[in-house]
């Protein structure tokens, strides 16, 4: 299974295996990793699974769709590496993906 590396805002790192087809958000929630709230459950409707994708990985991800960019408008302190975890599907290509969580989600 692909490994995803989640880094909390305080630097604490969690490396977990996430089944393919799950989202980066689900990988965090199912492994009890703090820092991702996912209030709406993955409907791209709340922006509380906001993450900063590691610079080296950002361009390797499938591009954002319009609704994701719209939701990022209301995320907490978005920057150019911001994505919503619920919109990134885990695959073999993303083995080793590094994402960082913001200091809070809202």
């Amino acid at each position: 299974m692909p490994k995803i590396i989640y880094i909390e805002h305080n630097g604490k790192t969690h490396t977990v295996e996430v089944a393919k087809e799950l989202s980066v958000m689900e990988g965090a929630v199912q492994n009890d990793i703090p820092g991702i709230d996912a209030d709406c459950g993955g409907a791209c409707a709340c922006a509380t699974c906001h993450i900063y994708v590691d610079e080296k990985w950002f361009d390797k991800l499938p591009k954002k769709q319009g609704s994701e960019e719209d939701m990022l408008d209301v995320a907490f302190e978005p920057n150019k590496f911001s994505r919503l975890g619920c919109q990134i599907s885990v695959s073999d290509e993303l083995d080793g993906l590094v994402v960082k969580m913001p200091s809070k989600q809202a």
């Binding site: 459950g41 209301v74 978005p78 809202a106």
Partner: protein, 340 residues
């Protein structure tokens, strides 16, 4: 003081269907919701997004589902108390006393919490000065637009609310619209109107900027905005408005002595009662082994919770299980009984 059989917290799909189940067995319900409209997440977050997994409805939207549920509960004439958040609950003899943010008081033997992920609240500015100035220069909604007349107003956000208020207030105030990226997500028409006003010098638009700080002692004197690359600008301002949509917060529910696990309320699956007698939790807010956060699960949970409410609301009556297809009593309650 309003007396009722069941107070339902949350007017989303699950709360609405619970009212139908309660009505069928002869129980009266009152609904409280912090939003200004009925439908919960379905109406606030995805009114026009499609839903494909409601039994016997191949496709619907958040809005059409809400409208259908309202139609279905019409015979039971439930009262809605919108813009009200339940603040406190306390035990009073055999009843729960419930007090809302608008100081409405309810007395009911049963409470059904169908509050989803909690109540919707405006997303706020993250800079620390925003809290100090909240309601004294910093606002997240507009009640009276004349309040801003001839003032310097900074509006943040990229959706319809931000665009519409920027356009409206620009008629009689000095407005600067600030947004984190160059594109606006609001309706295309509003965005082009705003750009037109900018050309005419009637509205200033600053993108891609975010707030950095708010200046002022007792009153706001100005704000500082920044780009991601560190470019900084200062703007004179009397008022700062943020339109960043709504966020869900568990809120006061956490203070009622209920067991809470990861922002959800554990229940038993026999009747969806919480650790307090007469308080039930259904829909996304409840948790139990195997819980699925689907609307259809919430419907089932409401049906069972309703039966449990009967015992406390009518302790001297016996509950009888009946089918709507054949029961005259149920058909009378539904208002569909044909005369023989």
């Amino acid at each position: 003081m309003i007396k009722t059989d069941v107070l339902v917290i949350g007017a989303g799909p699950v709360g609405l269907f619970a009212v139908q189940q309660l009505g069928l067995i002869g129980l009266k319900a009152e609904l409280v919701d912090n939003l200004d409209k009925i439908g919960g997440q379905c109406i606030e977050l995805y009114p026009d997004k499609p839903i494909y997994d409601i039994p016997a409805l191949p496709e619907c939207t958040g809005r059409s589902l809400t409208n259908n549920l309202l139609e279905q509960i019409k015979p039971f004439k439930p009262n809605f108390h919108l813009n009200e958040r339940v603040q406190e609950i306390s035990k009073e003899n055999n009843n729960w006393k419930i007090v809302t943010s608008g100081k409405k008081i309810f007395l009911a033997p049963n409470i059904i919490i169908a509050a989803g992920v909690g109540s919707f609240e405006p997303r706020k500015f993250q800079v620390k000065e925003a809290e100090k100035f909240e309601n004294n220069g910093v606002f997240y909604s507009i009640k009276d637009k004349t309040y801003f007349k001839n003032k310097k107003v900074c509006i943040f956000g990229g959706g319809d609310s931000a665009l519409d208020w920027a356009i409206e207030l620009s008629k009689f105030s000095e407005v600067t619209l600030v947004h984190r990226r160059d594109e606006f997500r609001g309706a295309g028409h509003s965005a082009s109107v705003a750009r037109e006003l900018e050309k005419e010098g009637k509205l200033k638009i600053k993108t891609p900027f975010q707030i950095k700080s708010i200046e002022g002692d007792k009153k706001i004197s100005g704000i500082t905005i920044r780009t991601e690359d560190g470019k900084i600008e200062k703007i004179d301002a009397d008022y700062v408005l943020g339109f960043f949509g709504l966020i869900m917060k568990l809120g006061p529910i956490a203070e009622w002595g209920l067991n809470i696990e990861k922002k959800t309320i554990p229940v038993n699956t026999e009747n969806f009662q919480t650790n307090k007698e007469g308080i039930f939790a259904i829909g996304d807010i409840c948790t139990y082994p195997g819980k699925l956060k689907l609307i259809l699960s919430g419907f089932h949970e409401g049906a069972l919770a309703a039966r449990a409410c009967f015992k406390l609301a009518k302790p001297n009556e016996k509950y009888r299980f009946e089918f709507t297809t054949t029961s005259k009593t149920l058909q009378e309650r539904l208002g569909v009984k044909k005369s023989d």
